[in-house]
């Protein structure tokens, strides 16, 4: 296939189908990540994203889908999941039901009528190129991970029941996320491009908030971001507040008519429960703030 269509040309950006990823309406993209996404697409390799919760790993896939105008298919990995579930399902129950009661239009002798595509299968049979997000791969066991990469490598799998091979019409853009500190297996890593999304710095965070709250008061924004980063530095917190919490917190502050940004400077922080979601963390935060250790 012609790989050069991924090469960015200024004249192409206005075309109906954008050729390379340049960010989306609700997603703030840095240069580095844009480059990585484009390289991964050009090399046709899955992109493995790691990073602490709230750094926008999942959002990136949404953003790619939006900006490239491709449908997004999400596979939420669960710990008990078998690979075949992600590929296809043979709906034996409906077939049994049909064979007993026979009130449907389906032909019971045709097993294919009872095969349903799983998420990976859907991405393969789709008429157009899709973005396939495989979320939280670390939840599954190593076998699942390696077998899945085999399927994604070969871009095909077999449906055993009807002895048919499903081959991908278009190679999907694959984004895989992982929360684990632990490394995935070597063969798995060998087949992926890798990026670790660091937690956004305050400047970046302002840009992100700017996207979500376009007309936010500069004073409020500054005070909130400063407070937020101070709160992240409190000791002994197990789940630090992340971007999502900050956005929700801001939403709450905005809707509170009694709130003034000056309160934050005085160390009086309302709605701490939005930022700290574990009771032990909230307790810790309240204690440390009470002692004026900010």
């Amino acid at each position: 296939m012609n790989l050069h269509r991924f090469k960015e040309q200024p004249s192409m950006t206005k075309a109906a189908k954008p050729a390379s990823f340049r960010g989306a309406s609700k997603y703030v993209l840095d240069d580095e990540l844009a480059k990585i996404v484009n390289v991964s697409m050009a090399l046709e390799m899955p992109l493995l994203l790691k990073g602490e919760p709230g750094t926008g790993k999942t959002m990136l896939a949404h953003a790619i889908a939006e900006s490239m105008g491709m449908p997004l298919i999400i596979l939420n990995v669960k710990s008990s999941m078998k690979l075949v579930e992600a590929l296809y399902q043979y709906d034996t129950l409906t077939r049994l039901n049909d064979s007993r009661f026979g009130d449907s239009q389906r032909d019971v002798s045709d097993i294919e009528a009872y095969i349903r595509m799983g998420k990976i299968g859907q991405a393969f049979v789709s008429e157009v190129r899709t973005v396939l997000l495989i979320d939280e791969i670390d939840k599954a066991d190593t076998d699942f991970q390696d077998d899945m990469l085999d399927v994604l490598d070969q871009m095909q799998f077999d449906i055993i029941e009807i002895d048919k091979t499903v081959t991908a019409r278009h190679r999907p853009v694959i984004v895989i996320t992982s929360n684990a500190k632990k490394d995935l297996s070597d063969p798995f890593l060998g087949r992926c491009n890798f990026h670790h999304i660091a937690f956004p710095d305050p400047d970046m965070m302002r840009l992100i908030l700017d996207v979500h709250f376009p007309k936010l008061d500069e004073e409020l924004l500054g005070a909130c971001v400063r407070t937020f980063y101070r709160l992240r530095e409190l000791r002994g917190i197990e789940k630090k507040p992340a971007t999502r919490e900050l956005i929700n917190w801001l939403r709450a502050l905005k809707s509170d008519p009694d709130f003034r940004p000056q309160l934050l400077q005085q160390g009086r922080i309302p709605y701490l429960g939005i930022l700290f979601k574990k009771s032990a963390d909230l307790f810790q935060a309240v204690q440390q703030l009470g002692r004026g250790q900010m």
């Binding site: 991924f6 840095d30 480059k35 060998g190």
Partner: protein
């Protein structure tokens, strides 16, 4: 091209594979890289597979490309890398063929000598293309991609990286924090400890065995018969002994608490005991080490298959460990040196480990750690260490 860089990475212990190196060249030949900044990002995403190595990558990159002219690799180096490629090829031919973008069938027919020559030619080709004026990488970085800052279609570029050279970015060492093993969180502990479970069938028969149900139903010519199995439960016994006294353990209170908390929720049959610095004639079941003493001799009556995990810094004055009356508490009628008690425990429980929150680099500095290590296999109290300890505990001795 960049063979030296590749080897610099390898030499510093960053696991880069020849396959990924080839892939990087493919990215270069696709015209994806127009500046050193692009190269920095592209090479990292393709070569480095863990954020723990990002910091190492940054340092090597900065070192390698700061004021440095790219030199042509020598034939010897090329031969080295071609040989490494051959090794990879033997492991997985399809992978290499794909990375090179050639037909696997074609390579299949070659002898090893021909393969080496083929790889060599490919590598040379890349080198020549670079020097022939086809600039894959330029330091002036007038890239049409990414860095230009014009982003129609609603793209917002954050950060200030545009004005910084890749070398500067690398010198910032943004990933320094990730290069060390981060502190343990509960979830990671759970992951590591989960492996310690040994499932054996017991309890009521209430799990449907699908395979046998189908087989049985077929034998009955379609009359459904459901087969139940016993539930799996964990029968593993664990004894956890924690050093909870003395200032030397103070810095590690949080991490030990996390382990303790998590061990509780993971294992049904878990006994926790406490001691101070080292073990004399008894340990205590209460953290105050007062109300519920447990003579160490009595442990011989426990199941020898019990897994014994001792958590402590093993740092103390030498006499506490070696001397017959070394106990630092007057009420402990010491009979025999502590080291003999430890040896007794190690004999009683074949599966025993010592977890030490002190980083391994410092183990050499404390004499008693060395002595204890001769008795118990010692692992550091990090995710890595915990996993190794669990492996050790589950190994058949």
């Amino acid at each position: 091209m960049f063979v030296e860089f590749f080897y610099a990475l390898r030499d510093r212990g960053i696991p880069v594979t020849p396959t990924s190196f080839l892939r990087l060249h493919k990215a270069l030949s696709l015209g994806m890289v127009h500046s050193l900044e692009d190269f920095y990002t592209t090479a990292r995403t393709i070569l480095v597979k863990s954020e723990r190595h990002f910091d190492g990558y940054d340092r090597i990159f900065a070192n390698h490309f700061r004021g440095l002219e790219l030199q042509e690799p020598t034939t010897a180096e090329l031969t080295e890398i071609a040989r490494a490629l051959l090794d990879e090829w033997l492991k997985d031919p399809g992978e290499i063929a794909r990375a090179l973008g050639v037909d696997g069938e074609k390579l299949q027919g070659m002898t090893p000598e021909e393969l080496i020559k083929y790889f060599l030619d490919r590598l040379r080709e890349q080198t020549e293309a670079h020097h022939g004026g086809n600039r894959w990488i330029g330091t002036r970085g007038t890239s049409p991609v990414g860095h230009s800052g014009h982003h129609p279609g609603g793209m917002r570029v954050g950060g200030q990286s545009r004005n910084k050279s890749a070398v500067k970015v690398a010198l910032e060492r943004r990933y320094r924090d990730y290069s060390q093993d981060g502190p343990l969180t509960e979830r990671q502990m759970a992951e590591a400890l989960k492996r310690l479970r040994r499932m054996t069938p017991s309890g009521p028969r209430d799990i449907v065995n699908i395979d046998r149900t189908i087989a049985q139903t077929m034998r009955n010519a379609g009359e459904i018969e459901i087969v139940f199995d016993r539930r799996l439960t964990d029968r593993l016994k664990i004894v956890l002994m924690i050093d909870n006294g003395g200032w030397s353990m103070d810095p590690y209170v949080n991490i030990v608490r996390t382990l303790f908390h998590h061990a509780r929720s993971q294992f049904k049959d878990l006994k926790i005991f406490f001691f101070h610095n080292t073990i004399y004639s008894r340990v205590w079941a209460d953290p105050q080490r007062y109300f519920k003493p447990e003579p160490v001799e009595d442990f011989i009556r426990r199941d020898p298959e019990t897994r014994l995990i001792i958590v402590g810094d093993a740092s103390m004055a030498p006499y506490e460990l070696i001397h017959g009356n070394g106990a630092i508490y007057a009420d402990q009628k010491a009979t025999g040196a502590s080291i003999d008690r430890l040896k007794f425990l190690a004999r009683t429980f074949r599966h025993a480990v010592w977890l030490n929150p002190v980083p391994p680099e410092e183990w050499e500095q404390t004499w008693t750690i060395g002595v204890v290590r001769q008795v118990f296999p010692m692992f550091e109290l990090t995710l890595d260490g915990l996993e190794k300890a669990v492996l050790h505990l589950m190994a058949k001795h």
